[in-house]
């Protein structure tokens, strides 16, 4: 197996700790991300998938657990220089291309912000040249540099968000629902762009989304989250053809496909968390069913899975 880029160990993110309204948004999840792969995270709204992404990149301080990037714990105490070096390696693309670009800044300054912070360019000429290059990488024109965000369409704005993330030459990009706000025909353009960039630059992606068919297309491995827990993770193909956790099965059976014949015969399964009938003494943890395919289950369930 490939080299691990990121290890997430027992990550916990609780909000309102100790109060009545405590929320366990991310509740003890563990997974690895390998170099050069795309890991997709799917789940319904409120399942904690975005919080996971935001905690990994340290937008939130973790309540517990570790995020180890290339051997270094992200959430451990760090000096400013260490933090800066880390920030350069990890970047994020946000869901809403309307809210994530400062409307009062020109595209040139939006994209160059990271370059300035990390001192990656020596003079204005180099700065402009670099921004032009980035714009062309994401399929825009250099003339766009002097415009403001409102002059762009949704798809173009998402390209700007990608250019901004690429500016500091990161190794790892967290894409939080990057295509949800876009039209179908534009979604395909952005997904293709992300794939091309990955091939060219050997990027690693954490791709968070609720559109399962697009996630299957872009991801090498997929994790399914439900109520703050990772319930199943495995190779994309395995997860879609042989899902084991009943929640994954219910999620997959709910996706409508552009195929009327299939739709007429689709049977939707619903998920009832009490159907597991876990006993008090049973330990429910992630168990490896086939190589690389982990399911949250009890020993009893584990034994019943086809191997």
């Amino acid at each position: 197996m490939a080299e691990k880029l990121l290890e997430i160990k027992n990550l916990k993110q609780y909000f309102n700790v100790g109060k009545k309204n405590e929320v366990r948004a991310v509740d003890d999840i563990t997974f690895d991300i390998y170099k050069g792969e795309t890991l997709g995270i799917v789940g319904e709204s409120g399942c904690g998938k975005s919080t996971t992404g935001r905690t990994i990149i340290r937008l939130y301080d973790a309540t517990g657990g570790e995020v180890i990037y290339d051997g270094i714990d992200v959430h451990a105490k760090k000096t400013k220089t260490e933090l800066k070096a880390f920030n350069r390696k990890m970047q994020m693309i946000f869901q809403d291309p309307y809210a994530s670009l400062n409307p009062r800044m020109k595209v040139l300054d939006i994209i160059a912000e990271g370059l300035d912070i990390h001192g990656l360019v020596k003079n204005t000429k180099e700065r402009t040249a670099r921004v032009h290059e980035l714009l062309e990488t994401v399929g825009l024109n250099r003339e766009h540099a002097n415009r403001y965000p409102h002059e762009f369409s949704g798809g173009q704005r998402q390209r700007l968000g990608i250019a901004r993330a690429l500016a500091v030459e990161p190794e790892f990009i967290i894409a939080d629902e990057p295509i949800s706000a876009l039209d179908v025909s534009i979604q395909a353009q952005v997904v293709n762009l992300l794939k091309e960039l990955q091939e060219e630059r050997g990027l690693t992606y954490l791709f968070i989304a609720h559109d399962l068919s697009m996630v299957k297309y872009i991801s090498d491995r997929i994790g399914v989250m439900h109520f703050g827990k990772l319930v199943e993770i495995g190779p994309a193909e395995t997860l879609y053809t042989a899902p084991l956790h009943p929640y994954t099965q219910s999620l997959l059976s709910a996706i409508p496909l552009p195929d009327p014949d299939y739709e007429r015969n689709r049977v939707r399964k619903s998920y009832n968390p009490t159907s597991h009938n876990y006993r008090e003494d049973e330990e429910v943890t992630m168990r490896e069913v086939t190589p690389g395919h982990f399911v949250l289950c009890s020993q009893r369930e584990f034994d019943s899975f086809p191997k």
Binding site: G154, S185, A188, Q189, K195, P256, P258, P260
Partner: protein, 354 residues
């Protein structure tokens, strides 16, 4: 079959500071009794504007109806007075909006909101309306309807709110229900529940539905017939099988091939190049020509009329003209056409006529 609503040659423009936006440029369609017509298209294609013009919900100050008529129950909805229109809205035609968070009044209990159309249109007494509302809530699958009647929208989840909106819309047994992206804001599992609910209720009260969406999976699930809109025009219309298994318009081809399928591991996703047309200055000829690899010279000059493919299937592309060269659609579309008896790629014909 009985026609519930008929839109004839509708042309509509918005006057903005930037100039005249030709949002709808000649749209014709009808909805039959008891059927679901899905309208698909990108944002800006005119699908929402078309249905909002049926409800007359567009701002009077900037909207100009240039041509056409919308026939409903023997009347042209574009000609009747506002007070007559108010008798139609919520009674004969009702609407479900995309965002259930904003389409309910946050300061009113949901009981009051469901009772509103009953009191106004059916002139029920308050206690009758109250009881009918409880029935409606139960009908849309809300547990403990009596208790829920006194609650406010913020006390419900997104899926539940959409159920309430559906209850309000169905209160007066409308002849036509317009659902404008009713499940786009919902999770897939909730979406599946809402779609099942709508189909179930449609059978019970025999209403017709216009379903607007950009999700082709949802279309395949709910629609009897499909109209594909692009640049303010309907470019293809047909039964759901005709659109999915025998599409004729290059834009429909593009839409169908840009969706990844769950079983195939194709290397690169087909992406329609470019962006939707600017309706401030609509392109001459076929609006899709600039993004289409199948465009011919005539596409740049003349708008294609709707060519007949079958009694129920029409497509506006010059490729269907008898003199046009025969072209092969993208591979993913040919795969679909192999399953459709009557298409030239149907496997039964042993290679077709090529």
């Amino acid at each position: 079959m009985e026609k519930i609503v008929e839109v004839k040659n509708l042309e509509l423009s918005f006057h903005t500071f930037a100039g005249e936006v030709k949002a709808i440029q000649g749209v014709n369609f009808e909805v039959f009794k008891g059927e679901t017509l899905a309208i698909v298209g990108e944002s800006g294609s005119g699908k929402s504007v078309t249905t909002k013009s049926i409800m007359r919900l567009l701002p009077k100050s900037s909207t100009e109806y240039k041509k056409g008529e919308i026939l409903f129950g023997g009347k042209d909805l574009l000609k009747i007075s506002e007070s007559e229109m108010q008798k139609v809205r919520g009674k004969d035609i009702s609407m479900i909006f995309q965002d259930p968070m904003t389409s309910l009044n946050p300061t009113m209990t949901i009981g009051k909101q469901i009772m509103e159309p009953l009191l106004k249109h059916q002139k029920l007494s308050k206690s009758d309306a109250w009881n009918k509302s409880i029935e409606l809530l139960a009908l849309v699958g809300m547990p403990q309807p009596e208790m829920r009647m006194k609650q406010y929208p913020h006390q419900f989840s997104g899926g539940q709110r959409q159920r309430i909106v559906i209850a309000v819309a169905l209160a007066c047994n409308p002849k036509l229900l317009i659902a404008d992206e009713p499940t786009t804001a919902l999770d897939v599992t909730i979406q599946a529940q809402i779609l099942e609910l709508m189909k179930d209720l449609q059978k019970k009260i025999d209403t017709s539905i216009i379903f607007i969406t950009h999700d082709l999976g949802v279309v395949a699930n709910v629609a009897d017939r499909v109209a594909v809109m692009y640049g303010g025009r309907i470019v293809e219309v047909g039964t759901v099988d005709e659109i999915f298994y025998n599409p004729q318009h290059p834009y429909t081809w593009g839409l169908l091939s840009s969706m990844p399928s769950l079983d195939a591991g194709e290397e690169k996703l087909y992406a329609i190049p470019g962006t939707p047309p600017d309706l401030l200055a609509p392109p001459k000829g076929d609006a899709f020509a600039l993004r289409s690899e199948y465009a011919m010279k005539i596409d740049m000059e003349q708008v294609p009329p709707l060519f007949k493919v079958s009694d129920t299937h029409y497509a506006a592309t010059w490729l269907l003209h008898p003199d046009a060269p025969q072209v092969d659609p993208p591979a993913a579309v040919i795969e679909r056409m192999k399953r459709f008896p009557g298409s030239r790629y149907h496997v039964g014909i042993a290679g077709g006529d090529r």
